[in-house]
């Protein structure tokens, strides 16, 4: 909620004093630690996969951090201790973009919907509604004539069950991705229990007043068996071994890869959004867990013959969080100010067709992701408002 009183309380002396903290160029913030080269110094020439046969085998996995993460807890020098896997293992294999700008609404569902459509969506973040513009899944399926089993979304619960398919009359019903909400699967699997597990469904950390409301196209319990080839007993037994909802989401994603081998897989992680509780240690714990899960997913890609060598992985927070010095916010806790720290984040792309160990500092936008995936996979996201990222093509 806007509050003129907090917005207007930045005093001049203060701003100047702390500006030195953020003076370091974004170009520098990862290079030292990960040993990357500046992209503009490299000769052009892509290692893009060529030929129709290879194009058909091409797979793309997108991992978004549905709880925004700031540079200073990730790739900025003071944050690098939290992301050893991203920094030391994945970044050196990646093309790394230091300025991914999000000019849209900074709510997690609407921001992920914007990422998935290539259009800054205007839907109510807390409503269970589909995006207005066609999603990447619809473009992919319609243009390439792919079955629904070829694209999946694994996501937290709040609103995301409608992210697979838009309201668009040109695309829409029947052309989207299946959406799996692991926590709701878990709720269904535990529905016979005498114990109340409602607290596990808490997935909106922004306010204690929000309650999850669902409807629409979520996968039903029987799909545990039909799609994931998991018994309720096996699923719940595994759930009892994981420490967080995101670990459960990764388990589901890997199960989908094994059983369905989707060519376009979208995984939204959400543990980081615990930052809204105001406990910094929990926010950092979640970043460290997310770091580990990303590396775990990449290992799974490398060890699966269906994916190894032909998969491009994108990893990006959906946006940042408020700067410590932004008077309208409360630092890492929220993303309410719309300030630069909350709108600016990073993206890494690695795997098939991507140059390794290169850093690009030119600004790109969230909405550029869909046209880039389209160009990589051979479909045309006609209504997207972004531009293909030329460095990846």
């Amino acid at each position: 909620m806007i509050n003129l009183r907090t917005l207007s309380e930045e005093k001049s002396l203060f701003g100047a004093e702390l500006a030195c903290h953020v003076g370091r160029s974004r170009r520098d913030f990862i290079r030292d630690a990960a040993g990357l080269a500046l992209g503009s110094t490299l000769l052009s020439g892509s290692s893009l996969l060529h030929g129709q046969a290879l194009l058909k085998k091409r797979k793309v996995i997108v991992v978004t951090f549905g709880g925004g993460a700031r540079d200073q807890e990730t790739f900025a020098p003071e944050g690098q201790e939290h992301i050893p896997y991203l920094l030391k293992e994945l970044a050196p294999q990646s093309s790394f973009f230091t300025q991914m700008m999000n000019h849209g609404i900074l709510g997690h569902y609407v921001a992920n919907a914007s990422l998935a459509t290539g259009v800054y969506e205007s839907l109510n973040n807390f409503s269970v509604v589909p995006p207005d513009s066609p999603t990447v899944f619809e473009y992919f399926r319609k243009d390439l004539n792919r079955p629904s089993s070829n694209t999946w979304v694994v996501a937290p619960s709040n609103g995301f069950n409608r992210i697979g398919e838009s309201n668009s009359r040109l695309y829409g019903p029947g052309l989207g991705a299946g959406v799996i909400l692991p926590k709701h699967l878990l709720q269904a699997a535990l529905s016979g229990s005498k114990v109340e597990y409602g607290h596990l469904l808490r997935d909106n950390y922004e306010t204690p007043l929000e309650v999850p409301r669902l409807g629409g196209n979520e996968v039903h319990l029987q799909q545990l068996d039909n799609i994931l080839k998991l018994s309720v007993a096996d699923f719940t037994a595994h759930a009892r071994t994981v420490s967080s909802p995101d670990e459960l989401s990764l388990y589901i994603a890997k199960q989908l890869m094994r059983e369905e081998s989707p060519s376009l897989l979208w995984l939204t992680l959400h543990d980081i959004d615990i930052a809204h509780s105001g406990a910094y240690s929990l926010y950092v714990d979640a970043i460290q867990r997310t770091d580990r899960l990303c590396a775990d997913l990449w290992k799974a890609v490398q060890s699966d013959p269906e994916y190894s060598g032909n998969t491009t992985l994108f990893i990006l927070p959906d946006f940042g969080r408020d700067a410590d010095t932004d008077a309208g916010g409360n630092g890492f806790q929220h993303h309410r100010t719309g300030g630069a720290a909350s709108r600016t984040t990073w993206m890494m792309a690695l795997g098939a067709g991507v140059k390794q160990g290169v850093i690009y500092e030119r600004p790109i936008q969230s909405i550029d992701l869909v046209p880039t995936i389209g160009a990589m996979m051979g479909f045309s996201p006609k209504l997207s408002q972004g531009q293909p990222i030329r460095e990846l093509l």
Binding site: L200, T207, Q333
Partner: protein, 400 residues
């Protein structure tokens, strides 16, 4: 309805002081754009329950706006006037329910991609008000004190990383009677300069013995109110058709009495707001302490603010939640120390936003141990002192 249509009658539902203030500035309020005025009214409607510093700021702001010539008004509010609103917003009861209006406005600004323009207009407006408003000299330099790490026997991890460069690190602090010394200094300042809500002690757990001249807010003391609030949320959320917006509006209207709080109405209103508007303040004592400090600084602008963090409840991992074990939740002192370390940084940032920042002082101490950072006008920055020192002397150095 537009601001030009405002009449005195429309403020009848406002509390007495707020009503009087609104009516006395009616002509000026009529000149303000709709994208701005409800945000001002949202503050004005709560005037009767505000701290003295907030009242003074609002009085000054209204006096400034009233003194503007028509050209100055147009110039000052041009950016707000350029914000496009819908006719729906004009039909809302923005006089009687300004908070609800600003909620709607916020959603509209995001969806119409005007939030950045609004933020810029608001920031520019704030800067302008600070320029034209005279700030009275403080009766004594501001002092912030943070006590972190209660319950941590030893901790070798990095601490005070963000604060160190702004002050001096002390590694040989004598911890004996440390908290008592800090509270004594706070009480002495309060007794010497007895301003209402001018000297605070915010406690993340059970308060230590403190002088009544200090305004005290305690997480432990608010336990009945927190429980009552969570119960209400649970009850209301279970009602058919209850959505997040309706629930939020219901909670926003709760009175201190409904949460079992009696006594000082201004302070109780503040405490209710901390619990109903602060995310996580109902659950984690560290969040409670940090947010309460932020709000106290922002609203009451205290001359003295001592914040002591206590261990928060441990966050249970998913497998533990699934084991359905019940019982009292354990606390997590080390994670709480990490929370509090960040909280101390934010407290200093928020203190530096207030008038007199150049002369203000700040001390953060690892409770029961020998590590502290002191920031003050005469203390060197980014240095380390190995001198043995007690906390009373450390405060004297910071305040010198």
């Amino acid at each position: 309805m537009l601001p030009t249509d405002l009449t005195a009658e429309q403020f009848r539902s406002y509390p007495p002081l707020a009503q009087r203030l609104a009516v006395s500035h009616l002509a000026a309020l009529r000149q303000l754009p709709l994208s701005f005025l409800p945000s001002l009214l949202r503050e004005l409607i709560e005037y009767d329950d505000k701290f003295p510093a907030e009242r003074a700021a609002l009085d000054s702001e209204l006096a400034t706006i009233t003194a503007f010539s028509p050209a100055q008004t147009a110039n000052c509010f041009r950016a707000f006037a350029q914000i496009r609103l819908s006719s729906t917003q004009e039909r809302l009861d923005w006089v009687g329910q300004p908070a609800e209006f600003t909620e709607e406005l916020s959603a509209f600004l995001w969806s119409s991609h005007q939030m950045d323009a609004f933020q810029k207009a608001a920031t520019d407006y704030g800067n302008r008000m600070h320029t034209v408003t005279e700030t009275e000299a403080l009766p004594l330099p501001r002092l912030g004190i943070v006590v972190i790490g209660q319950g941590v026997a030893s901790y070798n991890g990095p601490l005070f990383r963000k604060l160190r460069e702004h002050g001096t690190y002390f590694g040989s602090v004598d911890p004996s009677d440390g908290l008592q010394q800090l509270l004594a200094v706070a009480a002495k300042r309060a007794q010497a300069h007895p301003l209402p809500y001018g000297h605070w002690y915010i406690e993340g757990g059970e308060p230590a013995a403190y002088h009544p001249s200090l305004t005290c807010v305690s997480y432990a003391k608010l336990e009945p109110a927190r429980s009552a609030l969570l119960k209400r949320i649970e009850t209301e959320a279970a009602k058919p058709g209850m959505g997040p917006e309706a629930l939020r509006n219901h909670i926003a209207r709760l009175t201190p009495a409904e949460l079992g709080l009696t006594g000082d109405l201004v302070l109780n209103r503040f405490q209710v707001k901390v619990l109903t508007e602060g995310s996580g303040t109902q659950i984690f004592s560290t969040t409670f302490a940090q947010w309460t400090a932020r709000e106290a600084l922002r609203r009451a602008e205290p001359l003295t603010l001592l914040v002591r963090y206590s261990p928060r409840q441990r966050q249970r991992p998913m497998n533990e939640l699934l084991s359905s074990s019940t019982g009292k939740l354990a606390v997590d002192p080390v994670s709480s120390l990490i929370d509090a370390d960040m909280g101390a940084w934010y407290q200093w940032i928020n203190q530096q936003r207030l008038p007199g920042a150049m002369w203000s002082s700040f001390v953060v101490w690892l409770e029961g141990q020998n590590r502290a950072v002191a920031i003050g006008p005469s203390l060197p920055r980014g240095t380390e002192s190995k001198s043995a020192i007690n906390l009373k002397t450390l405060l004297s150095l910071a305040l010198a």
